[in-house]
Amino acid sequence: MVAYFTEIFTGLMSLFIGMGITFKEFFKPTVTVSYPYETLTMSARYRGHIELVEDEEGNPQCVVCGLCEKACPSDCISLAGEKPEGGKKKVLTKYKLDFTKCSLCGSCVESCSFGAINFSKDYNLASTNKEDFYFDLLKRLEERKK
């Protein structure tokens, strides 16, 4: 009999404690972000698709050594470059990324000893078209500069 009433009492009290907690939460400020209107700044180590890093003049830092292409386990990267007449260094003419296969493993970024590629913070990538995920990174670099 005593156990019966203690159980009712403790049960009832626990209900009131629970309600107290939600009551307090009710008056606290919201913690969510209304996504399309506000966005969060991505954390430093967030991995988006890779992007080219530019030097001071705004040209890609890449020296077309091809190490990233070789390092990629999924063969996502295909690049090409040529030596302009009179120039000493090769200039990047094509840098294609097949993002449908990329696993964001980071081997390419690690393999580049010139710091020429990096993870972007771009996450708004939804599309119904597979072709939209074959990125031309040179073009994306141009667009970013604008």
């Binding site: 009832l12 309600m19 939600t22 009710f26 919201t30 913690v31 969510t32 209304s34």
Partner: protein, 331 residues
Amino acid sequence: MRLTLLNVIIAVVLAIAFAAVNAAYLVWAERRGAARIQRRPGPNINGPFGLLQPPLDGIKLMAKQLTIPGGADRIMFIIAPVLAMFPAIMSFVTIPFSDSIVAKNMNVGVLMIFAFASMGSMSLLIAGWSSRNKYSMMSSVRAVSQAVAYEIPMLITAITVVMIAGSADLTEIVHQQSKSILHWNIFPLLGNSHNILMPFSFLIFFMCTLAETNRAPFDLGEAESELVAGFHTEYGSMGFGLFFMGEYANIVIGSCMTTILFLGGWGCPFGLFPGVWWFILKLYLLIATFIWIRWTFPRTTIYGLLNLCWKILIPLSLFNLLFTAGLLKVF
């Protein structure tokens, strides 16, 4: 007031309007409240504070087609949502909001409300039965066993109050409590019963109202995690809309009844500004508590639910009934 046909029509139209507006904006309040408790903003895009959300939702629901699943009992399937709404509307007609604001006062008002309230579970039964869907079926079985169980303590506590007031007339019950806050049935230190156990009766009645209206944590009938959406799984369009409105209308009625039976109706606590607003204030405080409870507690199991009723609520409410009877004899 003489009961002419015109009066009845006006009363019913007003009741429908009141129920519909309440249903629409309680959904809004519920969503905003839930959001606040979960620390998110809730619907805030359409109109100021998202106030245009309910009419837009209504338009969306009305624009949809009402599909009837193959093999369903067509007539029953269509009747069920109407039956969910109808008793709620009818109950509004007898509820006194103040001395003068009552469509048709009856001297058996309490009985009438409970009679209509018990029709609610009938609509769930018909909806689940006629849908030809095993989840709906299970849901209506649960809903009925729940309704049968919880109507008992609810009626017993209501009878306790009727005994104290000596009348089943809702207006008369309020008049009995109107002298001061200490005459209210929730804590009647003055008045003719002096029953210190009444706060527990109030809690029992409130819990039963939660269970009767199929609200969380007693919403076993529409347990999404087990039964898809329960009895209204197969309903779309306004069929679903009516069930939804019925639920909120029932909440309003449950809160009205709690206010009248325990919180002194339109009586004001310290004789301040008497009027219908006290009723409205108490009513919406109770409704806010409904919403608050829903977003605090997880759903119980069906065994927990029935155990709570048969092992705790019914014995306690029976005891209080006897206790009150004894006190009434003594004082």
